[in-house]
Symmetry: C2
């Protein structure tokens, strides 16, 4: 199964991913949970009442006029299915029947002009708008602070243009990951963007949230792939990008990428594409400890040659390996790295790892990782069922700060979750010449109020990240969950500048209110 | 002589570069000028009167209080030497004794805090401020629309921090190119940024104008090297960059890079550095025509392996080669490409060029290019002396648009300069996977009013660039010369958004008024 063979997910409300791909916990994992003091919690309370849409007939008529009444859905199932994203607190609140963030109506525009017409009329009709592409936010990116309509972009599903000379493709915002690969594969190309949300996330979300995929060492981040974009705002449309790079003023594309729907709706992007590889190689490597492995991956990031995929788990993640005990040879000691090549195997990469103290474990662990690469989030649902609190968080910083940052975040999580001592797993999955990302997975027993439990721990971890000089997100984005940390990170004057941009493009604050900016 | 051996230039007012490096035109070039109908013009008129500074004693006292009176210069020579930049129209106006853009006083702050204090007090004291780093703008970036003080940043000349683990260096804005290389060379590192303005331009200017150097294929653009920056604005200081890349909102670093002093003064940047190469190789390649060479360099840009330097001249530039007739074997037909490697020679690169129809000309043309790489701008002064109008312009676009754009710009220049038919030379010097830059050099006879002559031709070329889908600048910036084309390129709504940012950071419009934005 390759990336373009994966079916487009129809995410199940309150559960991650494609229902056909759900997994059960292995017996060994269930035993391990008991060792951690984790027990199946009582069943969730009954769902709350299902409030009717708060929209008026006039508001619904406006929306129907723009997109056609068949593309406006106010029924409960549609609204419930578009509620929040897929953070653990989102799932926990979903399970608890918390209806506080349910959108009032789901609108399915079919063209850029329809999106523009809705945004242009939103203020007059008293509507707040949440752009919804794949719906896979894990940072509270879909839960604004007041009643709203959700703009589901799935009908914007076209490959509008393919420029084989320039190697660019114009893709609409609603094209999901597997669909993008399938559209490009027909012509022999790949985007090369494979985040863990790949099955459900879409082009517009990748752009709006500055996504980074598992093959980022070879293909770069999504914001590095975008060379042009079209943004619908309540004030009109902005089109940017006449060249790969320019010195004509600031790079305003980079002001739109990462704006998370707070400035407008990205309706299409022009992205760099590459020829689809005819071969792929994945393999595992063993290092004595995380520090040795860290130096090895830094060597590749700084002096090359980089593989397409480069990941390094720490000792705890290597040993625990909740994703699949077979992959990492858990318990053998040391740490595991995964490298992957789109194209021929590069012996020079392997030579660097060997010189840095690595031992080649061959293709077995690499292939196991490849086959399970989208599976980890599916494990969360049965773990939550069993009473475990499972969540991830991520950051990035410069190489010299990584050891101290990793230690500080781990300690902050252990201290904050002290009464239910957590396992804290960590890996590096995105590298640059000057630094890398750190991705943490936490697992512990749920308390009676797991939402508050996690929020307290997350706040402690966020403070540790800031104190250690890291950014609050390398690829998940800001949403509402990271808003306070984000504004502290860029400082009050930069926040004011960004608010001035929002005030210009969205003077009535109809776009994703409360997301990104206070 | 390597890049770090080059002395820091003390630019001569009205003449490019280091006086020690001035050149004379070869006899063959003088003959060629006659063939083009170019004759030595009459001597310029007497310099205009030297107006006194318009600043009041109170204004001068404020400045002296902040930086010390020994760092405030209101004498004519200092002011005249800081007048405008180095575009051909700048030089022509300088020669004509046009004093309309002379700054009122030159201030030399020694610290970020002194810069901040001046900006914080500028509005209260009725001062407009032009940041001046290397002073090498060729787009009217130093000539605002009203009386102003020039903030010469040369005293901000320190390497503040070197992080050898992260491979980053914190450099102050006033460090000029050769000084930056010398500071880094002490520790075995290089920045790898070698624009043609290298001798005079500085770190702050590179950042503010999104500079790109001759080794961009290997080292990237300057805005790709910057991982963190400090900006002093009239409202206070902004510090950005905790990681190489982040998903915490838009990349606001890319909003500051390219802001050309209109938002504030970049006082320092943290840049990626690399180990200093121990060997270098340059060589020439011949292709039958520009189209064949274009496909060859595109192959390298898209599929690699890229050399560090990659340039391709068109037929006219290859034949004329005003820079040095020995370099390009002028008249042999076809086109010349130059490739260069910082580090070992890569045969795989040569193999791609051979497969694409190239013939290896060996190291001779490569070394000649390397030795003369900063020489071309020096030729302009004696050419202007002889009555030639010489100027360059540049753009970038996607690969598929390049042939039509090149033809359209060439035709626009020929049409606009019809009474004095020009030679239009062109080369590609910066490549990306999805596109490349085009750099044009124009030479023809001056009319009686060469400033208007060039402005008319430039307007026609700019319109041709826009019509063909190119950006108005790949690496020279916007300044005042490109302002109208720039605002048309990003559109009125994006201009409003940028003005809102300026209004927030610079509410009294003291920063470089008239530069970048109307």
């Amino acid at each position: 199964m390759t990336e373009s063979d994966l079916p487009v997910a129809n995410l199940t409300p309150g559960h991650w991913g494609n229902p056909a791909h759900t997994v059960e916990l292995p017996a060994a994992a269930l035993d391990a949970l008991k060792d951690l003091g984790i027990h199946r919690p009582p069943p969730p309370p009954k769902p709350s009442p299902q409030p009717n849409t708060a929209l008026t007939a006039a508001q619904l008529a406006f929306l129907s006029t723009v997109v056609g009444s068949q593309h406006v859905a106010a029924d409960w199932d549609s609204r419930w299915a578009h509620t929040r994203g897929y953070s653990t607190t989102d799932l926990l609140r979903f399970r608890a029947g918390d209806t506080s963030d349910v959108p009032d109506v789901i609108v399915y525009p079919g063209t850029h002009d329809e999106v523009q017409a809705i945004l242009s009329g939103a203020a007059e009709h008293g509507l707040a708008v949440v752009p919804y592409a794949g719906g896979t936010s894990v940072v509270g990116g879909l839960a604004p602070t007041r009643n709203f309509i959700t703009l589901d972009l799935r009908r914007l599903d076209q490959l509008l243009e393919l420029d084989e000379i320039s190697r660019t493709a114009t893709l609409q915002a609603g094209v999901r990951g597997p669909a993008a690969e399938a559209l490009l594969a027909e012509h022999g190309y790949t985007l090369g963007h494979f985040p863990q949300s790949y099955e459900g996330a879409s082009i517009g979300g990748y752009a709006a949230a500055r996504s980074s995929g598992q093959s980022s060492a070879g293909y770069g981040r999504f914001d590095q792939m975008v060379v042009a974009l079209t943004l619908a705002t309540p004030r009109g449309t902005i089109e940017l990008g006449r060249a790969p790079m320019s010195a004509a003023g600031p790079d305003l594309r980079q002001l739109i990428l990462g704006s998370e729907g707070a400035l407008g709706v990205i309706t299409s992007v022009v992205v760099r594409i590459r020829p689809r590889p005819t071969e792929r190689h994945f393999e595992g490597w063993h290092f004595a400890d995380f520090a040795t492995g860290l130096t090895a991956v830094r060597r590749l990031a700084q002096d090359g040659p980089l593989p397409t995929v480069l990941r390094l788990s720490d000792e705890v993640e290597t040993a625990v390996n909740l994703a699949d005990p077979d992959v990492l040879g858990g318990g053998a000691g040391g740490v595991l790295a995964i490298i992957g090549f789109d194209g021929p195997y590069n012996q020079a990469t392997a030579d660097v790892l060997t010189a840095a103290g690595g031992t080649n474990l061959g293709e077995g662990p690499g292939e196991t990782w490849r086959l399970g690469r989208y599976r980890a989030p599916y494990l969360r649902d049965p773990l939550l069922d069993e009473g475990a609190l499972v969540e991830t968080l991520e950051t990035a910083t410069f190489w010299s700060r990584i050891p101290a940052l990793k230690a500080a975040v781990t300690q902050a999580l252990v201290d904050a979750l002290g009464t239910t001592p957590p396992l804290v797993l960590c890996h590096i999955s995105h590298v640059y010449e000057t630094g890398a990302s750190l991705y943490f997975t936490v697992i512990c027993a749920q308390t009676d109020d797991p939402v508050t439990q996690w929020r307290t721990a997350k706040a402690a971890a966020s403070q540790a990240i800031a104190d250690a000089g890291g950014t609050i997100s390398h690829h998940h984005g800001v949403g509402t969950d990271h808003r306070d940390a984000y504004t502290a990170e860029i400082g009050p004057l930069a926040v004011e500048a960004l608010q001035a941009v929002k005030q210009t493009l969205d003077p009535h604050n109809v776009m994703n209110p409360g997301i990104l900016l206070p």
